[in-house]
């Protein structure tokens, strides 16, 4: 027994020392002068365009810059988890990326966190920057007026509907609802004629995350005359009638079973079902989705469906009672940025610039169904002919809105999502959910940062 204890002790001591030595060895690996660039971006089973682009330009860049290695580090995760992993990697110099892919709505908050490098100097020497439209230039701008990120493209959102389903319900095509009630009328007509078809789905709940607000709630809210955020006063709007009306519309859709069953709607992967099963099988009348929709169905997409060009159509999402300007859309988009902790800022920027060059931006806009932000891409015939909907979705730019670009936004968005979930599951009434949202917003930003107008 005594002998065994001694033996155990020495084994323990020896292994601990080895482990400790291992720690220091791992820590000593980071020498700053190595010429390597770490590129971090998102890759999912339905989003591979950026991975393909980077894989394509990696040898090109390495050949042009001898001695430089480009390390591609795709993160396989949904949008929320991607941004969490990215933020965690930013905490340490050893894991922080040199170039990374970032959603525009997280930019301000990440600039505040000091994760993004100010690239004003690099842009000043880059003649292609003039090719980007003004909106694109503003998209990557921080509160201080400096530019921190270069957009890869933008998007708009509208109603995508199935022509066969609408025709079978006796609805005249092309369909363009003028008010919210027009949507409900069409959906009820589909429900009556085709009981096994989901008439009109709109995302709700926390599962679909930012999709719930961008492709559903904000189209409603911004068509009521109310907004989420008062840009003039820089305050968040609470107690608005528009917020309640929007929740009520969702409640109606779900309560009358015009949308998916709440249990399916709360599944984070419900959008895959929408694109991959419901629309191609003619089991869904319509939904609100982004201009990138064709990227899923076109050749090489995750849910190839050649007939989409015939079966699908785009309509503008209407305002509540047909108020001016007669439609609502939301825009977002993703950018490329240089990490603030990079050791090779100029080299990193060169890689970024290559990724958004005219040729590469054109390829990306076509393959990921983006709305081009470079004027020399937007005028390319191949871009305009990429799919039959380019003109339709580009028109939506006229009625589009942007999310409030403040650092509190993502928390507020989460509260909106929670409110929609409470309403469609029947856990709260519309008034209760709106009141809970008001309380939560005040808790996040403080009483002096909210307004009732």
């Amino acid at each position: 027994m005594h002998r065994n204890a001694k033996l155990a002790l020495s084994v323990l001591a020896a292994t601990s020392m080895v482990a400790l030595a291992g720690c220091t060895a791992a820590g000593g690996n980071a020498d700053g002068d190595s010429q390597s660039l770490k590129i971090v971006y998102q890759k999912t089973d339905s989003f591979t365009a950026l991975d393909e682009l980077f894989t394509k330009i990696k040898p090109e860049f390495e050949a042009a810059n001898p001695g430089v290695t480009v390390e591609l580090e795709p993160i396989q995760a949904n949008d929320d988890d991607y941004s969490t992993k990215l933020a965690l990697s930013q905490k340490s110099t050893e894991t922080a990326p040199d170039v990374f892919y970032e959603d525009t709505f997280r930019l301000r908050s990440d600039i505040d966190a000091g994760y993004l490098l100010n690239i004003d100097d690099q842009l000043a020497d880059w003649d292609e920057w003039a090719q980007f439209n003004e909106g694109a230039k503003a998209a990557g701008m921080g509160d201080d007026g400096s530019v921190y990120a270069v957009p890869l493209g933008t998007d708009t959102r509208g109603i995508w509907y199935s022509k066969p389903v609408f025709a079978a319900a006796g609805i005249e095509l092309p369909w363009q609802p003028e008010t919210w009630d027009d949507i409900l009328t069409a959906a009820r007509a589909i429900q009556e004629t085709q009981p096994d078809v989901v008439p009109f789905n709109m995302y709700a709940g926390k599962g679909t995350g930012e999709g719930t607000v961008m492709q559903s709630f904000y189209e409603l809210l911004y068509g009521t005359g109310d907004t989420l955020y008062n840009e003039d006063d820089q305050k968040w709007v609470v107690e608005s009638q528009g917020f309640k009306d929007s929740l009520e519309f969702l409640e109606t859709l779900y309560a009358e079973k015009l949308a998916l069953d709440p249990s399916e709607a709360l599944d984070p992967n419900v959008w895959k079902k929408v694109f991959g099963e419901l629309f191609p099988q003619g089991k869904l009348g319509g939904t609100v989705e982004g201009s990138y929709t064709p990227s899923f169905w076109q050749t090489g997409g995750s849910y190839e469906w050649p007939a989409y060009t015939e079966d699908m159509a785009v309509a503008t999402f209407p305002t509540q009672n047909g108020e001016e300007p007669g439609g609502v859309s939301m825009s977002g988009g993703w950018t490329l940025a240089v990490g603030a902790k990079t050791a090779n800022a100029d080299l990193a920027f060169d890689f970024l610039a290559l990724a958004v060059s005219q040729e590469n931006a054109l390829w990306y806009a076509i393959n990921n169904s983006q709305i081009a932000v470079r004027t020399d891409v937007a005028s390319e015939p191949t871009y305009l002919a990429a799919n039959p909907f380019v003109a339709d979705v580009t028109e939506l730019v006229d009625v589009t809105h942007y999310r409030p670009a403040t650092s509190d936004y993502s928390k507020i968005s989460a509260e909106v999502q929670a409110a929609t979930e409470a309403v469609i599951t029947g856990q709260m009434s519309v008034d209760e959910a709106a009141a809970a949202y008001d309380t939560a917003v005040e808790g996040i930003v403080g009483a002096d940062k909210v307004t009732t107008k």
Binding site: M1, L20, A113, G114, K206, T425, G443
Partner: protein, 316 residues
């Protein structure tokens, strides 16, 4: 004693009674020091990897540390703000209650009683039956947690195994994960964790001397009496240790719930670990998340104290 230790190692491990080495002896001071010295690296490792994160988390709960925004760059000391927010957060009491229900139902009732029951039954069953049952139960336990979680998800989901079996019998099952989220995760956790209790109790039952049970039988005690008056008191220590371990394990179950329901629908299955994860990583509020983690740590510590108390009299 030494012979006992060698012949019945399982009991030693599960009851946690330390190695019975030579008793306290006086040693020269220098000698003690040289003997303690080789332990230093182990102590350093423990400090870095176990105590370090706990202290960091405790410290973090008094700051507004975040994943993004200006406080990610420069976290500020906010005193008890996170705890005040937590205690007024309407989700917190719900989450606390759900955690309590989850621990009591899936661990203390589910895993513990199922484990004891299976151990008692297989103890008397034929070797073949005992081996087959044991393997089936342990199979759930040896699966990596993420795999077990997906298996449970596939079983309970709307068009999963359970509903297909029900459909074959002419019944339409509900969407279990949506309509009965707590029941689903409780059953899943009981399924996954029963093996541990079963193995602990099997080992403990092997230690109950056959003579004692036989003597009771001759005295005319029936099965239930032998169980309550002989077997249970004799494995009391194992029961307490097992309860402590499974309670602490179940308190921190995350993957299983996250995969199956992600805390939903609404907050209907948001236990404390889910709530802490959501606050810290989904909403980026690390300070608030660590405050919840600290509360969980205190709850775990309280449970441990209760069980350690329960263990004590036997030792003296």
């Amino acid at each position: 004693m030494t012979a006992n230790t060698v012949s019945r190692p399982p009991r030693e491990t599960v009851t946690g009674s330390g190695p019975s080495g030579s008793g306290p002896r006086r040693r020269p001071r220098g000698r003690t020091l040289t003997r303690v010295l080789p332990l230093a690296p182990a102590v350093v490792l423990l400090a870095i990897f176990l105590i370090g994160p706990v202290i960091w988390s405790f410290y973090g709960s008094f700051t507004d540390a975040a994943l993004t925004g200006s406080s990610a760059q420069d976290p500020q000391w906010v005193g008890l703000d996170n705890y005040l927010t937590l205690f007024t957060d309407p989700v917190f009491p719900l989450s606390l209650w759900l955690t309590f229900v989850f621990v009591v139902a899936s661990a203390i009732v589910g895993q513990n009683f199922l484990g004891l029951g299976i151990a008692l039954l297989t103890n008397r069953a034929s070797k073949v039956v005992s081996a087959v049952v044991g393997t089936a139960v342990v199979a759930a336990w040896v699966l990596p947690e993420i795999v077990a979680a997906f298996v449970a998800y596939a079983y309970f989901s709307e068009d999963g195994t359970l509903n297909q079996v029900l459909a074959a019998a002419g019944m339409t099952g509900p969407n279990w994960l949506y309509s009965f989220p707590m029941l689903s995760i409780i059953l899943a956790n009981a399924w996954r964790g029963t093996a541990f209790s079963m193995m602990v109790y099997r080992a403990a039952l092997n230690d109950v001397p056959v003579e004692v049970t036989e003597a009771a039988m001759i005295d005319g005690a029936d099965g239930i009496k032998r169980l309550t008056w002989i077997t249970i008191p004799m494995i009391k220590n194992s029961i307490a240790t097992n309860l402590m371990l499974i309670t602490l394990q179940t308190l921190s179950v995350f993957t299983l719930i996250w995969v199956m329901t992600a805390g939903g629908p609404g907050n209907e299955s948001t236990t404390l670990p889910i709530m802490a994860f959501q606050e810290a990583f989904k909403f980026g509020d690390i300070g608030y998340g660590t405050a919840i983690a600290t509360v969980m740590l205190l709850i775990g510590a309280a449970f441990s104290l209760v069980y350690i108390r329960a263990l004590r009299p036997e030792k003296v």
